[in-house]
């Protein structure tokens, strides 16, 4: 029962979604949209589970004075205040309710956005260090990889004068021919893998996600 019902549900909904793909009728579309809405709604309950896990782990860190417990307090404070502002309704702390709450928007604009953008910008440094380490590897494959990368990077460089048109053409050819071929091979392999794994999940062969009986 504990195992059979989930496996039956996986099979039924999996086969239904496959059949739905071949039925263009409106009624089939509506059922599909129903299920999508359901998945989003269930996702919010799952998020509540996740927040509970975060609170519990942070609280345990503070309670048992584990290393860096002070920062766990920062996490909880940030979480608490953001929820307070985000769920504000009718109390109007500083200004309008819900997602238009002034403090909620300020936290988003002046905390989330700057940190997110800065984390993203770290890639500029990491891409350089990754290229350097690949160069140090001195294997033929790493050299080929870096050579291709170099040609593509130089493509937009206007300082090479007479050589630039040839670099551009070589880069264009690299992108449109061998790059396309290899990407297609990977995509076909990945596509087959996804289809095979989806089939295993639907048929109940792949059941690691359900845990043990």
């Amino acid at each position: 029962m504990k195992r059979q019902v989930p496996l039956a549900l996986v099979f039924i909904f999996g086969i239904f979604m496959i059949i739905q793909y071949f039925i263009p009728h409106e009624k089939s579309e509506w059922v599909y949209e129903f299920f999508l809405d359901w998945i989003y709604i269930i996702g919010i309950f799952a998020l509540a589970l996740g927040i509970w896990s975060l609170i519990r782990v942070s609280y345990d860190k503070i309670k048992y004075r584990r290393p860096n417990w002070q920062y766990a307090a920062i996490t909880l404070l940030g979480l608490f205040f953001m929820i307070l502002f985000g769920f504000d309704y009718g109390r109007h702390i500083f200004s309008a309710e819900g997602l238009r709450n002034y403090m909620f928007v300020s936290f988003f604009d002046y905390i989330l956005i700057p940190i997110q953008a800065t984390m993203f910008s770290l890639l500029a440094f990491f891409i350089a260090s990754a290229a350097y380490r690949a160069f140090r590897a001195r294997s033929a494959l790493a050299t080929l990889l870096l050579l291709a990368a170099l040609i593509i990077m130089l493509r937009f460089n206007p300082y090479f004068g007479a050589v630039t048109p040839y670099i551009e053409k070589t880069a264009g050819w690299l992108l449109n021919v061998p790059n396309l071929a290899a990407k297609r091979a990977i995509i076909i392999g990945v596509g087959l893998g996804i289809v095979a794994t989806s089939l295993k999940v639907i048929l109940g062969i792949e059941r690691a996600y359900l845990g043990k009986d």
């Binding site: 996740g50 984390m119 392999g189 087959l192 893998g193 095979a196 295993k200 043990k212």
Partner: protein, 409 residues
């Protein structure tokens, strides 16, 4: 004589400009509105039918272009399609096509509240108007109708997909049955997966934990599902060696599944007491906040091995480089093609694309999973054969072969 000569000179002197003026003027002097655009011939043979393989609310039309479109008078610049739900009108504009066009699809909205709503099972009437540069000069076709729109219950344009689904199911079930009957199915070695055992051993010797990152996919993503299986195997080995395990999660449902997987692995290894629920924890569902937290964990906990298996996006390089800075052995696997190059460059071992899915079969050596892997290989062999046949067909002029793979919508 002199008077005659004088009069003749006056006539000549005055007559030339007058004659020249008279010659120049007719073209300039005629008013513009006296030039009329001739009426073109209307488009012919207009037919309308319900659009096939759709959810309804759409009618397709075709017509023969006006004889004055590109030839004849050459003054047709386009066509306007008009629709009414009564043969007496009023007709409303339902789209424009350029000169040379011979068809149009009138697509309406399925939302009743929308202004563009087009009901199914209602009679519609159509006219096609050939237009010229002068908006007052046009020619309309004969009205066609009534025609009704409705949804279909089977999309015939997707038959190739159905054929391949059934073929793939048949191949998979065949090889699974073959594997169940005890046939020995060979799988070549995957360097990335063989390195996992070595990496776990290294972590045990160093007394440091192993960091396992399931990626940023949802619990239902195929890459994440493949990652659960690998996590289960890794967790079982870790339980046997009594090494530490850290699994920070991005998606809360993934967290619940991962907790279940790790708990099961510890029980299978005979070490249920060693399982701690805080090994697998939720961080946040924000991409870079998650990465910031995992980076911090890497630098503080200094795991001996980092394993990245699942769906990754732009943060892949940040994770891999930070792990390299922390001195960890790194094994990665993802199906995100854009991120594979970064893992290849920054990690010690990388499972490229399909190898991630094969890894679960490779690790467990379960007959059912190996049978499915065999089916994938046979499908790839079929791709090679089809590609060769397709290329031959193209070069001998058999374009119909490629049409077998055409999916209309």
């Amino acid at each position: 004589m002199k008077l005659t000569f004088l009069i003749a000179c006056c006539v000549l002197f005055l007559g030339f400009p007058v004659a020249g003026f008279a010659q120049d003027t007719p073209e300039e002097a005629q008013p513009a509105d006296s030039i009329t655009t001739p009426i073109p011939a209307p488009p012919g043979n207009v037919t309308a039918w319900d659009t096939e393989n759709d959810h309804g609310h759409s009618v397709s039309l075709s017509w023969e272009p006006s004889p004055d479109d590109g030839t004849g008078l050459g003054n047709v610049i386009g066509y306007i399609v008009f629709r009414s739900d009564s043969p007496d009108g009023p007709f409303v504009d339902r789209g424009v096509q350029p000169a040379g066009a011979s068809g149009h699809t009138d697509v309406g909205s399925k939302e009743e509240a929308s202004q563009d709503y087009m009901a199914d099972y209602v009679d519609y009437y159509y006219k096609v108007r050939a237009i010229t540069a002068d908006s007052l000069v046009f020619a309309e076709s004969v009205m066609v109708g009534p025609v009704q729109s409705y949804g279909q219950w089977f999309n015939t344009g997707r038959i190739p997909v159905l054929v391949f689904v059934l073929c793939f199911m048949a191949i998979t079930i065949f090889f699974i049955q073959k594997a169940k009957s005890g046939a020995n199915l060979f799988v070549r070695r995957l360097a990335g997966i063989e390195a996992v055992d070595e990496a776990i051993g290294r972590a045990t010797e160093m007394g440091k934990p192993i960091l396992y990152v399931l990626g940023l996919g949802t619990a239902a993503d195929i890459a994440t599902i493949a990652s659960y299986t690998i996590l289960g195997r890794v967790a079982k080995k870790i339980a046997e060696y009594q090494t530490g395990l850290i699994v920070p999660c991005y998606d809360p449902i993934t967290m619940t599944v991962a907790q279940e997987t790790v708990k099961t692995a510890y029980m299978d290894a005979g070490r249920p007491d060693a399982y701690n629920e805080d090994m697998v924890y939720f961080v946040t569902q924000s991409q870079f906040a998650y990465v910031a937290a995992v980076n911090g964990t890497m630098l503080r906990e200094r795991p001996a091995t980092n394993i990245y298996m699942g769906k990754f996006y732009a943060e892949s390089l940040i994770l891999a480089e930070t792990g390299a800075l922390a001195g960890s052995i790194q094994i990665a696997g993802t199906d995100e093609i854009a991120q594979i190059p970064f893992f290849v460059v920054a990690c010690d071992y990388t499972l490229i694309g399909e190898e991630l899915y094969a890894a679960s079969a490779y690790l467990g050596r379960e007959p059912l999973l190996l049978g499915s892997l065999k089916a994938q290989d046979y499908a790839k062999a079929a791709v090679i054969i089809l590609a060769i046949l397709g290329v031959i067909a193209m070069n001998v002029g058999l374009d119909g072969f490629k049409d077998l793979f055409y999916i209309s919508n």
